[in-house]
Amino acid sequence: MNLSLNRIKSQNQMTNIYIGSALLILSILDVFLNSFFRINISGSLPGNLSIFFPLILGFLGLSYLRTEYSGYKFLDSLNKNINTTNFNAFLTLFITFAILKAFPPALSWMVLDANISGDTKEACTGTGACWTYIKVWFKRFMYGMYPNELHWRINSAFLLVIGLGFVGYFFKENLKKYLALYYVVIYPIIAFLIIYYLISGGAFGLVWVETGAWGGLSLTFIVSFFCLIFCFPLGMILALGRRSNLPAIRYISVGYIEFWRGVPLITVLFMSSVMFPMFLPQDFFMDKLVRVIIAITLFEAAYCAEVIRGGLQALPRGQYDAAKSLGMGYWKMHIFVILPQALKLVIPGIANTFLALVKDTPLIFVVGLAEIAGMLALAKTNPKWLGFAMEGYIFAAIIFWIICYAMSKYSYNLEEKYKTER
């Protein structure tokens, strides 16, 4: 009795599974053929029904497939993951169909119908993207108006700076204690000198290149790199100031931090370009790029300070008490006990601040510095290359996305690493 019931049940189940998978496959096939090969199976159905046809079919299929346990691994994981309730099944179908529908046009625009050969606008004959535009303008997007034959200077400067960044890994054991000193003091100075003398030139037989000619993605990196190395020490001082028990210092720090955090970066940039020159002594000329870097540094230092303050607050009180009971003064306590621990805690936070900084840098376009958004605007209005705004912005978006995604993943990994180490 029991056995036969089971068999009937399983027979029913089998039919359900067969019907369900047939319906589901049919519905997906319909959308697939429709979007990839423009073949419409359900075209004979009246108007609106043909749009909903695959949705209804797939929905029925999924509801037939839904069983508690079937014994097939694939089916069970399908049921568990994407087919738990009617609502879920509907959403699953909706997303699957949306991806199936959107993929072919995107693919054909970006790859199949796109052009990359040739050097002029006329080479772009297809209906898809014109990557020739990106190819021709690539150097401008990367290096701005920097003279073509001198690009090696930017490249080698970046390589040197990145290489020096990794030097810390190869420090010998007895030099490890100078690691912090190296990264906080020596490295920024060397990096500054390298970038200054190699990219702007004017010494050692290198031709002088105006900062007005700097631009493109390399300018984005230069600005964000300088702002980061300058804003970090300033932020550290402000964070300590905000936690100081001397009222005047505390209030000044709080005022500074809250002021810069309360205003948008764009007004800060306006300030640097129109208001700042008024505050400087007469005949004292300061390059626009330098002014912008100073402004972003002052702005970003406030955010940096808040991140570092978070690290300082996260340390248990015992650390302060222990250091004090050893007879350490304020500076000794902070330099040898508090900051080394706190800074380790805030590395992910600093990485996030740097990420935000890189994402903010395109804004310098607003005050007339031609980094990548500026170069795009320039290329877009070039009479020989009108009408390729889409390609340009997608290209820039992809580049930024890769950089920012890598950085956010890296900072996430750091966060996980330090979470377990504590």
Binding site: N81, G262, I266, P362, F365, F400, C404, Y405
Partner: protein, 383 residues
């Protein structure tokens, strides 16, 4: 004695340093302004602005004063922020909940949405929508209606405008309904505390908020007409829509980019808030006999909101500050109109940049103060 010096000396030095910096700047500014023949002052605010704005909420033309231009521009900024906040909240809550879904596809699509939109600089997103995506829209004469009455064209989005008669009667009915609902809620709470009875507050509220305004149509003499946008030919090949409300493409691009970008951050806040509540809370609530709705309303939401609201407000603040990117695509917001056009015309760099910064600063500080008050209120009172 030694201790006292140790406390006072650093403070004194800091104050001296700050005073010195400010003094240095002020003296330089004075010398510079004397040399250029500019004098410091806010008198220019009452002068005629003599520039035009593309899009305004209030009546404005070139004869109005700079002060009025400031107000109108500030309203444009607030409009963008308001719309952005609404859309980013809706999107953010949906995506945040979707990231916690058990459905593999939904979870991952939501995760990729977040990763995608948050890792592209906002300025590039705005440019993309404005210069690339919205430029691909049809011209007015080729536009197909959306929902039958609205038109999305390259020159903007045209929607019907509402023409009210006796709007004040309608509004007062609406306010009366809201006040009544608040009273009923208080009353219902009292009843529940005293007698343990529960009134169907939700149904009563819904009834009130539909019936009272409806009555105003039937009895109060309120009428509502729609003015449809109509295609009009200006010249052989030039068409525009007339009538209704026209939302300029700058506004659309800005709101789209701001809400898509910020919604990723809101989604993360929502996810963190819901994940932050331990499963035990739900189980404990169920074991004392609360219904699923009550669990959500009385146990989960109050705790989740405590985690969600502060960082989300921070994101709203960021959105408001980011709305200043409007200047890059010539949407007439505070930065473009005031720190751009007005500054160019008057040359009063210090005053104008100062006013602009102070405006944003006061918005930020006001919201921060509100947040602090709210945090104090909802703080878990531990013994």
């Amino acid at each position: 004695m030694n201790n006292k010096i140790k406390r006072i000396l650093p403070q004194l030095l800091t104050i001296l340093f700050v005073v010195f910096v400010f003094g240095f700047f002020t003296i330089n500014a004075q010398v510079n302004m004397d040399n250029r023949g500019i004098d410091f002052g806010f008198g220019f605010l009452s002068q005629e602005a003599s520039f035009d704005m593309q899009f305004t909420l209030l009546d404005y033309d070139g004869q109005d004063s700079y002060l009025w231009a400031y107000v109108v521009a500030l309203l444009n900024t607030l409009l963008v922020s308001f719309l952005g906040i609404i859309f980013c909240t809706i999107l953010g809550v949906i995506i945040g909940i979707a990231r916690l879904s058990q459905n593999f596809l939904i979870k991952n699509s939501a995760a990729w949405y977040v990763e995608f939109f948050r890792n592209i600089p906002l300025l590039l997103q705005i440019f993309f929508w404005y210069y690339a995506a919205l430029r691909a829209l049809p011209l007015p004469e080729n536009a197909q209606p959306w929902f039958g009455v609205t038109y999305m064209t390259i020159k903007g989005y045209y929607i019907p405008s509402m023409i009210w008669e006796n709007l004040n009667v309608f509004m007062s009915c609406l306010i009366a309904a809201i006040v009544a609902i608040i009273f009923i809620r208080i009353y219902a709470k009292k009843i529940q505390e005293r007698e343990g009875k529960q009134l169907p507050v939700l149904y009563i509220s819904l009834a009130l908020i539909t019936i009272l305004p409806l009555l105003s149509f039937l009895i109060g003499g309120v009428t509502l007409d729609f003015e449809m946008p109509v295609l009009k030919q200006l010249a052989q090949t030039s068409f525009i829509f007339e009538g209704g409300i026209a939302l300029p493409p700058e506004l659309i691009a800005l709101v789209l980019a701001l809400s898509l970008y910020t919604s990723t951050f809101v989604a993360e806040c929502v996810r963190a808030g819901i994940q932050g509540i331990s499963k035990g809370q739900k189980e404990a609530a169920a074991s004392v006999g609360l219904t699923p709705n009550q669990i959500l309303k009385l146990v989960i939401m109050p705790q989740a909101l405590r985690i969600i609201i502060p960082p989300t407000t921070n994101q709203y603040l960021n959105l408001t500050k980011n709305s200043s990117l409007a200047a890059a695509i010539a949407y007439p917001d505070l930065v473009l109109v005031f720190a751009g056009t007005a500054l160019m015309q008057t040359g009063k760099a210090i005053e104008i940049v100062g006013i602009t910064m102070l405006t944003y600063l006061s918005i930020s500080l006001a919201i921060a103060a509100l947040m602090n008050w709210y945090n104090k209120r909802i703080e878990i009172k531990e013994k």
